[in-house]
Symmetry: none
DNA sequence: AGCTAAGCGAGACGGTACGTCCAGTCTTTCG
DNA sequence: CGAAAGACTGGACGTACCGTCTCGCTTAGCT
C-alpha cells in the first residue's frame, strides 16, 4: 500500500559514507553533505539510520560482510577455516588458522583511515549505549572466529585443557588493537605470525 | 618586559579542565563554561592553548608529571618496582613486579570516565599530530616500566634470551587496552595476575 | 516542496529588531539576544539575513512601507498634500504643504534614538553598498514628496520658472538633517515653518 | 620632574591614524595595529587619547588646523576672509566670501573616505557625549566662519537686518552635509556657487 | 650626582559580539 | 506512506577589538 523504500538509496548512501569515512574520517562525514552528494534527502538517511553513529556502524559491518571476518583484504571465509580446523586439530594447523584470522585483522586495521575509524568508534561506544552494542557485535565476529579455533584446538588436544580462552583472545586481539590505537606501530602478516606463535607458546 | 602571564590561571584552568574531562569527557569540556567556572576570560584560555585539543594535551601531560606511570588513581611509582626487581630476578619476582604494573594499569583504566577519555584520546591522536605525540608520550611511560622489568628478567635469566620484548609488552598492555576500549570487560587485579601468568608461561 | 519558512518568525524578529534599534541603537542590537527574546534560534535569524546589516536594512524598509514618507511617528500621507496642492497653487498653499512635509520630518527625526539611528545608517551606507541602496530608497521618499510640491508650485506660477528644484530640496531637507546629525539642534514645527518661509523667500 | 612625553610619537601616531582613517575608515582603524605600525606601545596611544574616538577627533582637528576652516584642499584662512569682508560689505563680496568657505567645505567633504568619516563621527557623537562635544567644536569652526561673513553682511547693509543667521547657516551647511551624508550627490565649486546664490537670494 | 615620578615597550587580561558549523527533528508537498 | 527539500532548535567553536592592567626599563629634572 505504501511506497516502498528505495533500496538503491541504501546502497548509495552506504557507499558514499564508506568512501568519505575512509578519506576524511568520522568528523569529515557530514550528514548534510552526504545527502547532497548522494542526491537524497537528509530525512532519507535518518529514516534508515537514526544516528550518524549507526550509519558508521553499518558501513563497517558492510565491510565485514563484504570480505568475511578477515576484514577488507582478508581471505578467510567462515566455512574455509571451519574445514581446515575440522580436518586437523594439531598445533600447526591451529597456528595456521589463527595466523590467517589475525593476519586478516592486521591487514584490515593497518591503514591509517581504518585506525582512525576504529578509535572513533571506540570513543562513540562509551557515550552511546545503543551504538555501543552495535559496535560490540562488530568486533565480536572476529572474536568468535578466534574462539572457535581455540576451542577446537582444546577439543583436539593441541591446546591445554585448562587454557583460558578469553585470556588468549585478549592477548591476540589485544595486541593488534593496541598497536592500532595506542602505539601506532605497523601491522602485517609477519607480526600476526609472531604474535600467534608467542601466544600459542604458553597455550600448549 | 611585558606583563607576565598569570601562572595561577594556568593552574586553575588546567585543574578545572582535568576535572571536567574526567567527569564529562572530551565533549563535556566546553571552553566557554570552563572560563566562566575558573573566573577567567575565554581569551585567556585561548591565549594559552590555541585549541581545545591543545588544552587537553596539556591536561594529560600534567597527569603524567603528577602521578608517574600509574596514571590518576594509580600508585606504582618508579622506585617501587625498581627495588623489587633489583632485589631478585627470578620468575616469581618478575611476575610480582609485572602484576604490580599491570594491576596499576587496570585500576587506573577501569573506571568508565577513564575509558571514555582514553578512547577519545586515541581518536584525537589520529587527527591531530601535535596532540598525538603528546598522547604517545603519555602511554610510553607505562610501556617503559614494563620493558624495564622484562629486560631485567632476561638479564637475570628468569626469561628466555630470545624473548621478543616488544611482543610481550603488546600482549600485556594490549589485553588491558583491548578490554578498556573494545570489549568493555572489567579490569581488576585478578585479571592482571592471570594475564601476567599467561604471558610469562610462554616467556620462560 | 520543502517546509516553508515560518513567516511569523520573520515578523517577530523584525518587530523586535525594530524596537531594539530605536531603543538602543545599532550597537544595542545583538543578534544572540534578539533571537533569545523572540524565542528563535540564532541560525533562524542568520538564515534570513546573512548579516546584522541586512537585518537592519529590512527593518528600515519595513518602516517605509508601514508609515509612508513621514517615517515612524510622522503622519503626512501622500493623498493629504496632494489634495492641498491640487486645490490651489499659490504661494500660501505651497508653503502650507511644504511645512506639513518638513514638519513631519522634524517630528519624526527629532527624538534622540532616531537621530542616532539616522547617523548610524548614514555611516553604514558608506561601507555596505547593499545596505546603502536600501537606505537611499528610504530617504528618497520624502525627497520625492517635496519635489512634487515644488514642481506643482512652478507649474502653477507660484514659484520661479527657473527655480533649481534640486537645490531647494537640498536646502530644506539639508537644514533638517544638518540639525539632526551635525549640530544636534532641536527640531519642531516652528522651525519647519521658518525654514520653509526662508527658502520660499528666494524661490518666488 | 618626570620624563616628558615624546612629542614625536604624537605626530607619528596622528599621521598613521589619519592615513588609515582615510584609506580604511573608522572600523579599519585598529588601535593594536596602529601602534604596531608606528612602532609604539598601545599604552602610548591610550595615554594620549583615552579612546579611539578621541584619537579620531584629534586627527580631524589636525586636518582643520592644517588647512584652515576649509578643510584639506581648501584655502580660505582665517585672516584671508576677514580681510575680504572688511574691505567691502556689499552683496557681491559677501557672495564671494561665502562661496569660498562653502566651496572649501565641498572640496574637503566630497571624497568618499571623508564622507564615510563624517558619517561615522556623526554617529559617534550620538553615543559618546565627550566625543560629541569635540566633534561639535570641530564642525563649529566652519559655522563660525560663515556666521562672521553673514553678520558683517548685515552690519554693512548688504543683507536684511532681520535675517535669521542661524537659519541661513543651516541652509548653507545643511545642503552640503545633506549631500555628503544622505544623498551621496557630488560636491564641487559650481554647486557651492549656486547654493550661495540661492540662499542669498532670500537674504537680501 | 642621585632620587623619583612619569614615559615607554610589551603584551596579558576581561569582556563582548560576531558569524560559522553540525546533529538531529519537524513540516510541507508530491507521487 | 515514502521521499525530497529544507526550515528549525540548540549549542559549541574560534576570532576580533576595545580599553585596562601590570611588568621592568629608561629618562628628565628637582634636591
Amino acid at each position: 500500500m505504501a511506497r516502498p523504500r528505495n533500496t538503491e538509496s541504501d546502497a548509495l548512501i552506504l557507499a558514499a559514507a564508506a568512501e568519505t569515512l575512509l578519506r576524511s574520517g568520522y568528523d569529515g562525514l557530514v550528514i548534510d553533505e552526504l545527502a547532497r552528494v548522494v542526491g537524497v534527502a537528509k530525512t532519507t538517511v535518518y529514516r534508515r539510520w537514526p544516528t550518524k553513529n549507526h550509519l558508521v556502524v553499518s558501513v563497517i559491518a558492510g565491510w565485514q560482510d563484504e570480505v568475511g571476518v578477515a576484514g577488507p583484504g582478508g581471505m578467510v571465509g567462515g566455512q574455509a577455516d571451519g574445514t581446515i580446523v575440522d580436518a586437523a586439530g594439531d598445533l600447526a594447523h591451529i597456528a595456521t588458522a589463527l595466523t590467517a584470522i589475525v593476519g586478516g585483522m592486521c591487514r584490515a586495521l593497518d591503514p591509517a583511515p581504518m585506525r582512525r575509524l576504529v578509535a572513533e568508534l571506540a570513543a562513540a561506544r562509551m557515550t552511546d549505549d545503543e551504538l555501543g552494542s552495535s559496535v560490540d557485535r562488530l568486533w565480536a565476529e572476529r572474536r568468535a572466529a578466534i574462539a572457535a579455533v581455540l576451542e577446537r584446538g582444546i577439543a583436539s588436544g593441541g591446546l591445554r585443557h585448562d587454557l583460558d580462552v578469553e585470556l588468549a583472545m585478549d592477548e591476540l586481539a589485544g595486541a593488534v588493537y593496541y598497536r592500532v590505537l595506542i602505539t601506532g606501530a605497523p601491522l602485517d602478516d609477519r607480526y600476526a605470525h609472531a604474535l600467534v606463535q608467542s601466544v600459542l607458546a604458553g597455550a600448549r
